[in-house]
Amino acid sequence: MVAFRVTQLGAEAAAGGDDRFVELFRAGDERALRETYDRFGGAVHHLAARSLANASDADDITQATFVAAWLGRESFDPTKGSMLGWLLTIARRKVVDHVRSMAREHRITASVRRVTDPAPVDEAPDRVVERLVVADEMAQLPGEQRRVLELAFYDDLTHIQIAAVTGLPLGTVKSHLRRGMQRLRQRWEVDGGSRSPGSRQAGAPRTG
C-alpha cells in the first residue's frame, strides 16, 4: 500500500514537472528522496527479487541502491536518461557485488561458482530492466493513448475492435498506436541498456 502523502513537493513536481523534482533531488532535498523511493522503490525491489534467490536480500539491495543513489546524487545526469534507468543500473551493480561477496564468503573459486551460484536467475537482468522502463513509460502516457495501447498489447484487440470498444475514430486509434509506440521505443532506446536498439550499430536490423 503506497503511503498517502500530501506534500508541497508533490505540488511543486506537478507544477514544474519532473525537472523540478530531479533538481530538488540533486540539491539534497530529502523529500525528493522519499518521492523517488515512492515512485521507483517497487521497481528496484522487483529487479532485485528477480535476480536473487533470497527475499530479504532483495530488501538489502533496495536499501543499498537508494542509499548509494542519494550519496552519489550529483552524478545523476538527467540529460542522459531517466532516474529510473539510473537507479536500476545501480541496483544491478549491487546485485553483482552481492553475488560476488557471497562467493567470497564461502570461499568458492571462480570455476566452482558457476555450479554453486547462489543466485538462480530466472531472467536476464537486462530484460527485466527493459520491461521496467517500458512499464514506467506506459504509465506516463496520456490516458487515452495508454488505454489504446493496453487494449492492443494486453487484450490483443485489433485496431478496429479498439475503435469499437472505446468509441474512438479509427484514425485516432491508429494515431495513438503510432505515437505511443514511438514514445515507448524512444524510452527503451535511452534507458534500456546494452540490448536496446539505440545502442546497436545504426542500420543493422535486429536478428531473432
Binding site: 530488501d59 539491495i61 550519496l71 561477496s101 534500456g192 541498456g193
Partner: protein
C-alpha cells in the same frame, strides 16, 4: 501504388501482428532494408511491452526498507560528494565493479549523543548480510492526527536499540513553523503536563533523536509532534498535530 516506404501506421499494425502483408508489401519488405528494420524494431517494442504488462502495478518494498534507508542517510555526510556509489549514468553498460574498502561489511549508523563514536557511512555502502543485526525495535507507535492537524499521511515513532527514537512524519511541509517532537508524561496531564523536547524534524520526513538514558520511557511514553512558531520560545506551543503512546 509505388511509395518510397510503407506507411508508418501500417508498419505498426504489422508489428502488432494483427495484419498480414499482401504481395506488394512482401515485395517491398524484401527489397527495403529500412522498412524491414522498422518492422523488426516495432515488433521488439511490442514484445517488451507485452512482457511489461505484469509490471504495471508493482507493490512497494516492505516499509522497514525505507526506515533503514532513512537511518543510513541520517549518518551520512551532509553533502552529496560524488562517490564510487553511483557513477555517471552516461557510463557504458559493463562497469568495473566498485572498490570495496576493508572494514565492517555493513556500517549500522548510530545517532549517538555528544562525543560517542559515530560511524559515518562514507563512500562505500555495502549490502547488509546476515551477520550484522538490524536495530532492535523496543517500542513503537503510530502517530495519529489530532483534530486540528493538517492532512498528514501515515506517521510513526520507534525506539531503536533503547537509545534513539526514529520519527517518521508525513505532514505537509511547514511554512513558518517547525515540527517539534516531544515526549509527554501522561500521568501528569491534570497537574501540569511534564514533557521533554527531543528536537525538531528539520524539514525531513525522517529524523533520529538520541534518547537521554535519564528519561524513563515508561513514564514519558507519549510521543507528541507539534507545530512550533519560530519565535525563540522553547515552550510547547499547544498546537499538537500528532500523538501516540509507545508500546
Amino acid at each position: 501504388m509505388d511509395r518510397d516506404h510503407l506507411d508508418q501506421d501500417r508498419l505498426v499494425l504489422l508489428a502488432l501482428g494483427e495484419e498480414r502483408t499482401d504481395d506488394t508489401e512482401d515485395g517491398h519488405l524484401t527489397a527495403c532494408g529500412y522498412c524491414r528494420a522498422e518492422v523488426e524494431e516495432l515488433r521488439a517494442v511490442v514484445t517488451v511491452s507485452r512482457e511489461s504488462g505484469p509490471l504495471r502495478d508493482l507493490p512497494p518494498p516492505p516499509e522497514h526498507v525505507w526506515a533503514a534507508i532513512a537511518e543510513s542517510i541520517a549518518a551520512a555526510p551532509a553533502n552529496g560528494a560524488p562517490t564510487n556509489e553511483a557513477p555517471a549514468n552516461g557510463a557504458p553498460a559493463n562497469v568495473v565493479p566498485m572498490r570495496r574498502r576493508r572494514g565492517p561489511r555493513w556500517v549500522v549508523p548510530l545517532m549517538a549523543a555528544a562525543a560517542a563514536a559515530v560511524v559515518a557511512v562514507v563512500g562505500t555502502v555495502v549490502v547488509q548480510n546476515a551477520l550484522t543485526p538490524d536495530p532492535v525495535v523496543q517500542a513503537q507507535t503510530d502517530l495519529g492526527p489530532l483534530p486540528d492537524a493538517p492532512s498528514c499521511g501515515p506517521s510513526y515513532a520507534r525506539v531503536l536499540d533503547g537509545d534513539r527514537l526514529h520519527v517518521h512524519v508525513t505532514c505537509p511541509v511547514p511554512g513558518e513553523e517547525a515540527y517539534e517532537v516531544w515526549l509527554l508524561d501522561p500521568a501528569t496531564a491534570q497537574s501540569g503536563l511534564k514533557m521533554v523536547s527531543l528536537g525538531t524534524m528539520g524539514g525531513r520526513t525522517d529524523q533520529i533523536f538520541p534518547l537521554d538514558p535519564g528519561v524513563d520511557l515508561d513514564r514519558y511514553s507519549v510521543v507528541d509532534v507539534s507545530a512550533e512558531p519560530r519565535d525563540g520560545n522553547p515552550l510547547h506551543s499547544g498546537k499538537s498535530l500528532l500523538r501516540g503512546t509507545l508500546r
